[in-house]
Symmetry: C2
Subunit: 208 residues, 2 copies
Amino acid sequence: MRPNPVPDIVIGRLPLYLRALGQMKAEGNTVTSSHELAGRLGISSAQIRKDLSQFGEFGKQGTGYNIAFLREQIQRILGVDRTWDVALIGLGDLGRALAHYGGFLRRGFQICALYDTDPEKIGQSIRDMPIQSMETMAADIRRKNIKIAMLAVPLSAAQEVVDELVGAGVVAILNYAPTSITVPEGVHVQQIDPALHLQHMTYYIKPD
Amino acid sequence: MRPNPVPDIVIGRLPLYLRALGQMKAEGNTVTSSHELAGRLGISSAQIRKDLSQFGEFGKQGTGYNIAFLREQIQRILGVDRTWDVALIGLGDLGRALAHYGGFLRRGFQICALYDTDPEKIGQSIRDMPIQSMETMAADIRRKNIKIAMLAVPLSAAQEVVDELVGAGVVAILNYAPTSITVPEGVHVQQIDPALHLQHMTYYIKPD
């Protein structure tokens, strides 16, 4: 157990800070400030300073933050100072787009195993990775000690696949199936469903 | 201005309730309870009752909620008791997957215009919609009175396209480009970046 758990909403902002720092580094900058980060992120500079202070002292009053140093520290805090193997389940249009996406590796993730149920797809390769049968998925994930999965299967299959993944030792699931899934304590789920996000915004823009 | 604004975090949960109600309806159910919703969503029943009570009285103590009625009410509250036209910008792998996705319409959204900069793609069609040039995008969006856009362009192009969209009258943007974008007051942005979600989870699963 952590002695003083940091609120989850703070943890959720750290990846935003990390992404912005990576972009600043790519742009050739070496130093930044909470004000500059605030301008990029639409988060107040006071909030950014408060969030970061939960983890230590990363900058000096008046001189700002060293970008490379702060980036390394946040990578370490988030556990992405290493590369995580990720399994991708479901190679429909979305799954294929994820498999082809080149942006994961520099942010700490490598899709290293693909699974589908479609006999036409099994045996095909994407980026030199073979699409494997779901029948061998659990054993394969356990053998490879994969802890993270991205789920891009149809709604109707989602819970069953989740149960298999959890049984195989997966502890973090990024769920693209448009349904809520149930997992035991200690397994983490994040959901990506574009219609949810769109409906959140229409609340504010609908005509009164 | 709304007299008593409902917290944004509550608004963000309404689409989850709506999605679960739609699934219950599809399963042939007519009545549900905050306890049943809680079990599906991993949100406490007290929280669900409290959230819904901000908008009125939708159920009776002891008899639960009428699914069709509650669903209609949440659709109305979120402004998805109608269909919104949506522009999709960027027809790479992800944009194509979004264009092909069949799940938007029953949740209140219809992709009705596609834009890209690639001369090879312009003129091609997806689901009978032509991919149009970005050069004509702003005028086209304004003429069609489109208020919502999904942005699946590369990071480097994102802010420029956003500025054009906002200038053309777009007030809600679902941003798939892995970067924060800046918009004026009154324009709503939601971000989808799988690496952000994955990094949020690795905080909790990293070895101590």
